[in-house]
Amino acid sequence: MKKLKNIYSIYIKTFLILLLVTLGSCNDFLEKPLQGALTQETFPTTERDALLATNAVYNIMLRENYNYGLFPIIDIMSDDSRKGSNPGDAAATVGPFENFTHVATEETLSRWWSTLYEGVKRANVVIERVPSIQMNEQLKSRYIAEANFLRAVFYFDLVRAWGGVPKVTTTNTSRNLPRASQEEIYNLIEQDLLAAIQVLPQKTEYAAADVGRASKGAAKALLAKVYLYQKDFVNAEKYALEVINSGLYDLEPDFANANSKAGEHGQESVFEIGALGEESITRGGNQFGNVQGVRGAPNKGWGFNRPSIALMNSFEQGDPRLDKTVIYLGEVLDGITISGDTDTPNETRDANGNLIEIETYNQKVWTPGNDVPSAFGYNRRLIRYAEVLLIAAEALNENDKPEDALIYLNDVRERAREGNPAILPDRTETDKDVLRDLILHERRVELALEGQRFWDLVRTGKAPSVLGPLGFIEGKHELLPIPQSEMDLTQNIWEQNPQW
């Protein structure tokens, strides 16, 4: 018995010792950090982190919802385009924007809003956290300036679409943030762009591998546009001319190349979103060209943003830009015949037999290739030199320098006419009001389907007269409604936009 007693007293002692050892190591035992990912407390902290965090801000622009919440509603709300696709497709979700019957619960709106703010957050990560990283100071300030530029890009969409929005400038945002005024947001955009201009290199100063990053020229061009929207024509003129006089940009000889694959990062490109022909964002694809791509045969996409008959009619007689803006059925592009979609009528007429739509597609987003992945490779141009010229022209005209304005306006027309003296004669009009309309018209045809027309009409006050027949209500439709989900989630602490 005694021997046995010893045996189990040994057992007990062993257990007790083990128990005490494990009890003592308890605290570490209960620490299970996140596996496979950093947490936000520990990122970004290195030079490489800073670069990764900066790249991640650009990534937002590849997100499908960055493009107006997937569907090009800003064009669809203009007189230049119709919903597109076949009649039933997204009739309930995109259709309402065609005739201004959209409401605050449209998911397109909350998707766009949330994605823009996701971009703001990523820019804030760089702006807030990169300054304290020990690293190459030149790179550090450039990364921050890139983030400043991109934050301005996102806020510019927000302020144009919704007016005064919550002003988020830190990663640790209050959950009860009020809406800032439109002016405060514009001030933030200006500050960001001015800061970016101080630091960013010119497009040509970037290494070949870095082309596509925000440049000084891009920041100035965007700032000119931001001033134009605020009717600060003196500053708009100043920054547009600085871009023009930098001598770094020129128009593509062929208008088509302003948007084509061949013209990517070309002399006309001031800022564009690089994308690869991959059907996935994580692999570098951008769905922008797919959503608007030819539907049916070739199967490039969904066929939204169909050029309206009004747009086609707005081109001057013989303007070659029409055919380079609109894809017609039967057209052959890069050796591919466009047959279109069997579920989409070739012609649509209203009850009175008037032609209201023909099956066409947006040629600006065309990329060579007859499959879906090729459509994902379209590099969306956010600012191109032709627009800078037109901003300059508009600002100069407003600043009572019509002669100077005509120079830049006619630069755009000259390229468009492709050497054919019979079309698109130089403008000579110097009457301020008439010239203003001519410049606006030039913007319409030059920048058609590039997400400009609706906002051009709103900022020039022409929206009620031009878009009224489509359902536009003055005092209401200048702005989109704050997404209802956002109003709900913030417990209605914000005031909804007027009349919504």
Partner: protein, 1006 residues
């Protein structure tokens, strides 16, 4: 095992008297006839001296009790009889006669011992139990041809709902104990020989000795933060100490499975007729169209083989059980099967009288082939007017859904896994009654999945331009070390059982996925990766989110029984889990319970009708921490690359992902239970009835957060922000008796469930969305979890006038459904969607009958539920023209023709989520019927067998239901999806149907 139940005494100084008035027999009381009687009372088996045995002179209140040496002294006359009674032992009455020395040996009360119930970290007499615990014997678990032991519980245990939502081989049933108290994982935990597990599909039912379902807080609180969904304790078989010679059991069962029912769909001609109404001129001659019955093409009859051999026995130092099982189920849809070998080795070594060492080890390799999960759904929707194959033998394109035969043929998906669960333990009886036990258990699973899709072309919509190969590897290991001290002591009428313990558990896992394409040949021999065929950016590597945690726990429990009449249980568990941040890590889970064995009261002794009557009540807090560990962290995501360069290149990018919530904590369930147990007519009628009320607070739900916070589209953050109540009554009633040579028994069980959400933060409430992303369920205060959500229909627009006078949307026309303007604002908007049903039954029940006559046995089990609805989702999402269910025959074709079935349309307006697709989900099912024959003992012995039985059995033979789908047991998870089944419960997608099974089996014992 017996040792544990034996009441042992230890030397302590005082012996106290019990409350019942027993006058001490003193010398002063003695009369001239009285003489001193003395003696020692010992345990008949062990010879141990028993202290506290009551000795009473029969018919008087005079008595005494034994002292610490088991010795007693009493004065009695020779005519008196002495009654020796002690809890757990058979009472003896002995006449005094002329003796002065009377040594008595008491033998243990076998009947009481057989009523022992396994509870968390120990055992208890059934009569001492204060909690709500249901026990199932192992032999009842093999009455259903299934690989999963839980399947056999359908309709057998009050308070437990087992739903076989899919008939796919290897699929586990959905188990809910006393309703649904969470929006997250609502499954119970399983404790197999002390090892805590999330599922037991690896367990061979034939290896199980018993199963106990712990339902109320008194029983589950000892499992603390994991007990809220209930606990299933599983004890596997051991060699019995009584069986010195090995007992060899051989059993075999062969079954054939057949599709239980088909869905009534349109044939080719009928479909063409309806299609012509929708798109006039679609089919010129409806009599000449092909007629394909897609259902008959994808279903087949398929066998199940189930064989096992076990050897059990003991020697003085060793108890052993070795079991080997083989289970092979082919699916009724081609390319699905489940094959498992299960090996179990259970041993206990008696190193000394008071030292035991043992192990329970199972090793289970299995292989599962998964067919295309959508195939029943595809076959359901496929147009019958398409022949399955074209003239050249190739698959015909099928509009909208694709050719299901091609889908099945091109699906190659295999799981191959090895799971091993086991523990080793040591037990030392330190002093009598005090046992220290340490058990180290582990659950290991190595699982790999391979799927291969060859390049093929059926149509532009159904093609795969390059072959695809995916492999995933998951390894998972969790270990659990439990140390407990258990102290049992009887002092007179007081019985104390105390438990303290400390446990540690850790789970780790890794998931690795590799993907490739353009595999050089289709054959399995070529399913390997190399540098030329891997697709790097589809590689995925992470931990399994629910399998990465550690936990330490302290446990305490005290059972106190006074005089077998008054019962008390108090328990407390302290859990600390790594799933929560340091500040929120520790939780305390207390429970108290009281019981009253009324039957043991003196005033009941004359009531011969009743043989048991017990009242018990409990209250406690239990938790649910089955959430993935990552939700409290705010991660940085690394998939935010951007494209730069004249030579465009994707450069990596990283930034903040969706924020987490560091304040998360477990869900807490406050549970109250009141139960009454009774037995009448010498135990021929037994019953148990319980009322339960479970309020779960701090339920974790993912709430959408404001977009301006920058978490991205549709981002949600998890909060402890909801509250749910489950309450109901459950009962068990059984009658067993015999008439002449016929033995029979009838039992019935039932449970009522009243489930409702009390609080749900956020707007709209969490819900489930169908393929078209329209919301089908919604959980809001006042309604059951996952209530169906949609428009309420109240007829058909019969004519234009009616249409004009009712609120309607612009899409509605004459002959279309009329939706109710629920909010009465005069217009029909999405705000008019409302609660249109619930998947949670009001009542679940089961009825079991058994009859035996001279070796012939008949047993019949019914199971059913009532008061729930099923959402027939497979009928709703229709972007293309699909086949219809036959109720389209009754469609509206002009004023007055129908007020329920709208005009024929391919999809759109009439197929929006509405009460049109809500069906009554009540059913009664003849779960199983078995006829068996046991060879008579004498014949068996001649064949050198202990026993032999042959049987035939039918499973899922008949179902009475109004539901039109394959089976009314619907859990609703979308095919292929891995939801929790809480918010999408009761939504039918036409998942893999449950089959009717006919079995033949043989059991031999040597």
């Amino acid at each position: 095992m017996r040792k544990i139940f034996t009441i042992v005494s230890i030397a302590i100084a005082t012996v106290s008297f019990t409350g019942k008035a027993i006058s001490q027999a003193t010398p002063q009381d003695a009369t001239s006839q009285n003489t001193n009687i003395e003696g020692t009372v010992t345990d008949a088996e062990t010879g141990e001296q028993l202290i506290g045995v009551t000795i009473q002179i029969k018919g008087t209140t005079v008595g005494t009790i034994t002292d610490i040496e088991g010795h007693y002294l009493i004065q009695a006359s020779p005519d008196d009889s002495l009654v020796f009674s002690f809890i757990g032992y058979v009472t003896q009455t002995i006449g005094v006669g002329n003796r002065t020395l009377l040594d008595v040996q008491l033998s243990t009360d076998v009947e009481t011992l057989s009523e022992v119930v396994i509870v968390g970290y120990g055992t208890q007499r059934k009569s001492d139990l204060t909690g709500s615990v249901s026990s199932i014997r192992g032999k009842d678990l093999t009455q259903i041809p299934s690989n999963n032991p839980m399947q056999a519980l359908q309709g057998k245990v009050a308070g437990v709902q087992v739903t076989s939502s899919t008939g796919a081989p290897g699929a586990a049933p959905v188990v809910r104990i006393r309703g649904v108290g969470t929006f997250n994982n609502a499954s119970p935990i399983y404790v197999v020989d002390g090892v805590i597990l999330d599922d037991i599909s690896f367990l061979n039912p034939a290896d199980i000795e018993s199963m106990e379902i712990l339902k109320d807080a008194s029983a589950t609180a000892i499992y603390g933060s994991r007990g809220a969904n209930g606990v299933v304790l599983v004890t596997t078989k051991q060699g019995s100490k009584e069986d010195k010679a090995p007992i060899v059991t051989v059993s075999g069962e062969y079954s054939i499975q057949k599709l239980h029912k088909t869905i009534d769909l349109l044939n080719g001609r009928e479909f063409a007729t309806v299609a012509n109404e929708i798109n006039p001129g679609s089919y010129n001659n409806v009599n000449a169209v092909p007629n394909t019955d897609w259902q008959s093409l994808i279903f087949r009859d398929a066998p199940i083989h189930n064989y096992q051999v076990s050897v059990a026995g003991s020697s003085p130092k060793i108890q052993y059980y070795v079991g080997v099982g083989y289970f092979n189920q082919q699916g009724i849809i081609p390319k699905s099967s489940y094959e498992r070998v299960s090996v179990r080795l259970n041993n206990t070594f008696h190193l000394a009288d008071n030292v035991r060492l043992g192990s329970n080890i199972s090793i289970t390799p299995y292989k599962q082939q998964n067919t295309n999960a959508f195939s029943p759904y595809i076959a359901y929707r496929a147009q019958p007017v398409v022949s399955p194959r074209q003239m050249d033998g190739s698959y015909s394109p099928v509009a909208g859904v694709g050719n299901v035969l091609a889908d099945i043929n091109y699906t190659n998906n295999f799981d191959r896994a090895l799971r091993s669960v086991g523990n080793v333990f040591g037990e030392v009886d330190i002093i009598k009654g005090l046992t220290f036990r340490s058990s180290f258990g582990a659950d290991l699973e190595l699982k790999k999945n391979e799927s291969f899709t060859p390049a093929f072309f059926v149509s532009p919509q159904q093609q795969n331009s390059t072959s695809d190969l995916n492999k995933t590897n998951t390894d998972r290991l969790s270990w659990l070390w439990e140390n407990t001290l258990n102290y049992t002591k009887d002092i007179g009428k007081h019985r104390i059982n105390a438990l303290v313990g400390y446990t540690m558990q850790e789970a780790s896992s890794e998931f690795l996925k590799v993907a490739g394409e353009n595999i050089i040949r289709n054959g399995e021999d070529f399913w390997y990766f190399d540098a030329s065929n891997t697709v790097g950016n589809l590689t995925e590597n992470r931990v399994e989110l629910d399998q990465n945690y550690s936990m330490t726990s302290y446990l305490f429990r005290l059972n106190y029984v006074f005089d077998r009449r008054y019962l008390f249980t108090g328990s407390l568990r302290r859990d600390a889990s790594s799933k929560f941040s340091k500040e929120n890590r520790v939780g305390y889970f207390p429970a108290i319970a009281l019981g009253w064995n009324i039957i043991n009261e003196a005033f009941m002794q004359d009531v011969s009708l009743l043989t048991n009557l017990k009242l018990r009540g409990s209250w406690g807090i239990v938790g649910n921490e089955k959430i993935d560990y990552s939700r409290r962290f705010s991660p940085v995501s690394n998939v935010f690359g951007a494209v730069f360069g004249t030579n465009e290149t994707l450069y990596p990018g990283s930034s903040y992902g969706v924020s987490g919530n560091p304040d998360l904590t477990w869900e807490s369930t406050y549970q109250t239970d009141v139960g009454l147990e009774f037995a009448l007519f010498e135990n021929q009628l037994k019953g148990e009835i319980d009322y339960y009320r479970k309020r779960t607070d701090d339920i974790l739900i993912s709430l959408p957060v404001a977009g301006y916070l920058g978490n991205g589209v549709g981002a949600t953050i998890t909060y402890n922000a909801a509250e749910v109540l489950n309450q109901g009554i459950e009962y068990n009633l059984g009658w067993s008796s015999e008439i002449n040579d016929v033995t029979y028994s009838i039992s019935a069980m039932g449970t009522t469930i009243n489930n409702k959400a009390l609080k749900v933060m956020g707007t709209g409430g969490p819900g489930d969305r169908l393929f078209n992303s329209a919301q089908t369920t919604r959980t809001v205060p006042g309604l059951p979890i996952g209530a169906f959500y949609g428009y309420k229909t109240d007829g058909i627009f019969q004519n234009q006038t009616e249409l004009d006078s009712y609120p309607h949307t612009s899409q509605a026309g004459v002959g279309d459904l009329r939706f109710v303007d629920v909010n009465g604002d005069g217009s029909l908007t999405p705000d008019d969607r409302t609660n249109i049903g619930s998947s949670i039954p009001d009542f679940i029940y089961g009825i079991n009958l058994e009859v035996g006559y001279k070796g012939i046995g008949l047993s019949v089990d019914f199971q059913g539920q009532a008061g729930n609805e099923i959402y027939n989702a497979k009928e709703t999402v229709r972007p293309d023209l699909y086949n219809f269910e036959q109720h389209v025959f009754d469609r509206w074709r002009g004023e007055g023709t129908s007020n329920t079935e709208p005009r024929a349309t391919a999809g759109g307006y009439n197929f929006q989520h509405s009460s049109r697709f809500v069906q009554d989900g009540s059913f009664l099912r003849l779960r199983s019927a078995t006829i068996s024959y046991d060879l008579s003992q004498s014949v068996a012995e001649k064949a050198k067998m202990k026993s032999a039985r042959i049987y035939i059995r039918g499973t899922n033979l008949l179902t009475w239901t109004k539901f039109t789908g394959y089976s009314p047991e619907v859990s609703g998870t979308q095919p292929g999806a891995t939801g929790t089944g809480v918010l999408d419960n009761g939504i039918d997608y036409g998942t893999y149907p449950v089959s009717t099974v006919y079995s033949f089996g043989l059991n031999l014992t040597f």
